[in-house]
């Protein structure tokens, strides 16, 4: 197996991709069985799901909209995983970044769209990065588990944003809704026309981010050091790597990517901050990173898949009266199956069967 293909995450060609595809197909089949058992009309539900995901230009755009935030956050989770760290803090990182973004857009109402968007992205990177780095710092110097700290920081991040939109940032003409004003026109990311289709420009940014993550992990020294850290913490220390610094860098990168996801969602999709700004993107992103095997290319494909599932599910709800939360159940089934498929024990069992088969072949020959 070439390491290049593995790193690119073009996993459809490798063994890992076979496992993932099989798991996804099995997971979807199980979800359909569940739907049928609960009395849904599959003949209506399946076409509704497909048309909502990729049926027409609007459906396609919706799929991309749904994919963008989980792609960004998922890339961040992937960096953490490669460095042996588990970033559960996407949710909080999204909220603080979006909060910082909307605040800055009101302080500095720049009129030049390119500058405005660039400023917004930088703000997202910094805010999310700080939120992630905080957990990294606590891990590096106080040995506090990043799973716990990122979960706690989620609460803090969300409540900060919630306080702001109930208080100082509340839209006075919002009809009493607790949400911010819409972000200024120059700060918005446009939707692009691509032939007969339309594409949110945030999707292009997410693809760029994926390429940067791939280059970062694969082509830079820090990337190698992070992967060493993830593979063997002690060996990294013995080889002279500055482990505390690396931990902070990894978590800062994870947070920064989630932060960009937050501001891109703000400026390219929802345009205002609310209490329901993120319907769990930070957690879906963990599934995305796991299914994508923590490779940049894999994350892109997994995010597209989960985005399509979400978009399709909401159309399924409208047309076939099947609850949209079915897509969450499908996600959960897929992740659970994947954990089983990648488990050490199953791997050992498969290897043992292969050795046995080889030995038997040898006896026959």
């Amino acid at each position: 197996m070439s390491s290049k293909r593995d790193a690119l995450g073009l996993v459809l060609l490798g063994r890992e991709s076979f496992v993932v595809s099989a798991v996804i197909i099995l997971g979807l089949l199980l979800s359909l069985v569940m739907l049928a058992v609960t009395g849904a009309d599959l003949g209506e539900a399946i076409p509704a799901l497909l048309s909502g995901a990729v049926g027409d230009a609007r459906a396609f755009e919706e799929t991309l909209h749904q994919s963008v935030p989980i792609m960004f956050v998922g890339l961040g989770v992937a960096i953490g995983l490669r460095a042996g760290l588990f970033n559960i803090g996407g949710e909080g990182q999204i909220y603080v970044a979006a909060l910082a973004g909307i605040t800055v857009s009101q302080w500095l109402p720049i009129d030049v769209p390119v500058l405005a968007v660039a400023l917004l992205l930088v703000v997202g990177i910094i805010a999310g990065g700080v939120w992630g780095a905080a957990a990294g710092w606590m891990r590096a110097y106080m040995d506090m588990n990043e799973v716990i700290t990122t979960i706690l920081l989620n609460g803090i991040g969300f409540l900060l944003a919630s306080w702001a939109i109930h208080g100082p940032l509340r839209d006075r003409e919002g009809g009493g809704f607790p949400w911010s004003e819409k972000i200024g026109e120059p700060f918005r990311l446009p939707v692009l026309d691509v032939g007969p289709l339309t594409m949110p420009s945030g999707f292009l940014l997410a693809l760029c981010a994926a390429i940067i993550v791939w280059i970062f992990l694969d082509k830079t020294v820090i990337g190698v050091e992070l992967r060493t850290l993830g593979d063997n913490h002690d060996a990294a220390a013995y080889a002279g790597a500055r482990v505390p610094l690396l931990v902070i860098v990894a978590m800062a990168c994870a947070g920064a990517l989630a932060g960009v996801g937050g501001v891109v969602e703000l400026s390219g999709n929802q345009e205002r901050l609310s209490d329901f700004f993120s319907p769990g993107y930070g957690f879906t992103a963990i599934a995305v990173a796991l299914v994508g095997n923590a490779r940049a290319g894999g994350v892109v494909m997994a995010a597209l898949f989960f985005g399509a599932l979400t978009a399709g599910a909401s159309s399924m709800e409208r047309i076939a009266q099947v609850p949209a939360s079915t897509s969450l159940v499908a996600q959960a089934i897929i992740v659970a199956l994947l954990v089983v498929a990648r488990s050490e024990r199953l791997g050992r069992w498969v290897r043992a069967r292969r050795q046995l088969a080889a030995a038997l072949d040898g006896q026959v020959a």
Binding site: T220, V221, A235, Y238, A239, G240
Partner: protein, 509 residues
Amino acid sequence: MGPTHKPAPGSHLLALADIWKRYDATVALSGASLEIERGEIHALLGENGAGKTTLMNVLDGITRPDSGTITWSDTEVEIDSPKRAASLGIGMVHQHDRLVPALAVWENIALAVGSSFRISRNEIAEHLTELTERYGGVIDPDALVSDLSVGERQWVSLLRALAGDVKLLVLDEPTSTLTPIERDRLFAALRHYRAAGLSVIFITHKLDEVFALCDRVTVMRGGETVSTVDVASTTQAQLVQSMVGRPVDTDFDRAPSERGEILLQVDSLSVQGARQTIVELDLEVSRGEVVGIAGVDGNGQGELIEVICGVREAAEGTVIFGDETHGWHHGRAASVARIPEDRHRHGLALGLPLWENVHLGRFRNRGLVRNGFLNRRGAHEASEAMLEAFDVRCSGPDQPSGELSGGNQQKAVLARELSDDPDLVVAMNPCRGLDIGAARFVLDQLVAVRDRNGGVLFVSYDLDEILAISDRILVMASGRIAGELKPGPDVIEQIGLLMGGAEIGVNAQ
């Protein structure tokens, strides 16, 4: 569940015969055998990795052997779980206690003995009082385990093991965390226990404890039980020999060399280690010499090397490389090579390909980086040359290092560490687990460093290796340098005395 018939008098309580256990590439036990009489304290002696703990895990039902038989009171038994072991009457005290810190002492004991649904604090506390009356020590049954000292916890573990109907007590290095007084109390309790006709397996690597406590001793080395003798009819030197001896080709061509400038100076270093405390240790390594550190495993060698390698903090003292003093988190000094003891844990990132492993931490020093980006092709090509120079047998630089054999993994570590012609090499047990050929290759490389006027600090538990390549030999015992010796024909006796003797504080210089 226990054996039903009465054993013939004088027969063994326990016999382990020809026990084998293989893990993927390594053999943990190769035909180990052990016989325990009734009413004896039987020492199981050997260095780390000799297979002592694995053998005891087989006895406790934690590890299933690949083959071999276990006979208990003349009945062949299968022990497939710790529960089964306990039902036979085998009580285990593990090296690291397995108490539940959040529970009280009596609750921990109830977990071990209480088989019924209902547990009574008072019954357990009464039982505990009986035990402390018999074996000594005062334990408050209601104290939380997390509030106890390490020594008290060890004692609770012992009492917990004794709380059931135990015929054979197994203690895995029980004294490593005890104070001398606690140790004496433990020994007294074990003698008392033996007097009641019960048996003890006492796992240790401390020679003086064997002589102070035990009736017979079985020495393990490399997964084999090499000898069983009466303690009364053996000597420390003989035990050392069978513990660490391994036929190594000791015929090294060493050019005469002069000690040059000092490369490494350790000044009054004190370290609080998990297993051993180092107190005010001084050490020097100069150009043109191999300094060998001999000693039984666990006497502070690991802690010393970890501090020198910058992965453990010292309490006090300094480590000076050349003319620079380094703090504890100093990065990698290009001229210092580190060959860690455990190549899986410290040497290699097993999931990463070889070409990355042979440059770990050194990409910058080797000019393989421009503006933070890797020169992948250059790194690849350099790694191919290095793998060839060090004779690493592999399918190519893209092969993950975890797929190689132990010897080839160690060669890959050497390739990384020695390719820059380092001034100073710090090597901890670099030949551990290697076959004779690979071990010889490693030692040759170390001698080569000395011959081109570098310095080598070489820790090994294997005396033959130490004798083969050292210009000076330091013997380490109980966290101190017990003595310095020149290699010579009768030096092995002196080393043996220093290794064992210093531990009981007689030969310390």
